[in-house]
Symmetry: D2
Subunit: 144 residues, 4 copies
């Protein structure tokens, strides 16, 4: 399954990610997903800011929680581009967990969540959706 | 639209809910949704703990982000039970925002997100899914 | 003790505020303190933004944790201005917790933390500290 | 300064750590400090849980904010034991930030915060403070 995701992001479970049920809270998993999307955007489109010519906003995030994970541990988020629309992008992700003494890479991690997010390309000034620039479209296609 | 939701939860935007895009971060909206689910469970099933005879876990959360919201402001989360399965429950939510000087109730709020969550009833000891007790099923049905 | 604080802010414990020790995480208490400082600044100085003529930054936050608190519950943060320096402000806070069925005001809350924060007035463009405007000094003095 | 801290913890700035001021929120820095304390405790005392014979609680955290930091970037938290009391422990920390393309170790980081925390050893059952076991005292002394 790892081979299905061309882009990877490292995260680490924080104590403040856990909740009174003893496991990592579902909204912390949302933060890991966002870390993955953010690094993918940085990789494809460079730093956010006026010079980039467009802004991106999250329109939808759906997360399936498959297993509980705990502190301490490491997380890796695999991301791939699933669909490129006229002014939107769909990103699929798989999230894996490793206990602290097992470096990711040395052993298969625990698949604990999968996610699908839709992002919209916006004009940075009007904040309205705009067609995706061709150069961006090509770079995202390379991460399909 | 407010009339479609029988159960309401009050939240308040925190500065730490915002992010460097100047608006409330998508994962804070996930926290508001969880607040709504948590109060609904408390209302229907009482305090969590061994005496309750079952545990609940989130299996899936899908959030559609419709508008940006900002600090300062108040949030209300409307919740309704959309489907009661053999051992699962689907909750739909609508989230509204009000600026600080406009008390919720005095004017319509801004609908900024909708969400659908699936929760699973588990045996508190084995942590495996179990059929929903009838008494719970009836109480959830009253919030449909 | 409540009488010692002229300015009050309401918060509410979120499930995501708790951690695997079963109680509210120490960094969530930091978020409640920030909510109190933010509303105090809004009250005294109006909305943040270029038109305000100055920016404020947190230079130091010290929190003493006195008791564990839990979800569900409500929090009130009392704030007072303890010292007004040339370009800084010291705010002292006391944080109280109430269980969900006991509205704050109907019974004394549980004092669970006290805090002292130092904030610095900065030029909004140069981001260097600047002397506090007299009008601000007078308004802060009213919250001593 | 790095040489003054015998114990190091790696963290990474998340988008959700930032706030509407464009920088990392002060309470996220509190989460990095907690990550450092948590790993130090794990290193000295092993996994939390009943078998450990004691529990630890945070009694006080004071953080001095020296510089703004931003996403994206990496954080390292240096920790040292500053004082060992009868039933308490004082930990001092220094927090450094590196931009994403500069691996920590290849260049000096930006010192952005320092912190001092007091932790209390408690009986895991009564939740009252208890004298620090000698074996723990010796291990903490090695991190002075």
């Amino acid at each position: 399954m790892e081979a299905d995701f061309p882009f990877w992001t490292d995260e680490k479970v924080r104590i403040s990610d856990t909740d009174h049920n003893g496991h990592v809270n579902n909204t912390a998993t949302g933060q890991y997903c966002e870390a993955g999307r953010g690094e993918l955007m940085l990789h494809v489109a460079g730093s956010r800011g006026a010079g980039r010519g467009f802004a991106m906003a999250v329109a939808r995030v759906a997360i399936d929680y498959r297993r509980e994970i705990h502190w301490p541990g490491r997380v890796r988020v695999g991301s791939r581009v699933a669909r490129i629309g006229n002014s939107s992008l769909t990103v699929q992700q798989a999230l894996f967990w490793w206990p602290p003494k097992v470096p990711p890479g040395s052993a298969p991690g625990t698949l604990f969540a999968t996610a699908e997010s839709v992002m919209v390309i916006m004009d940075p000034v009007t904040r309205k959706s705009m067609p995706m620039p061709d150069v961006l479209r090509e770079r995202f296609a390379a991460l399909a």
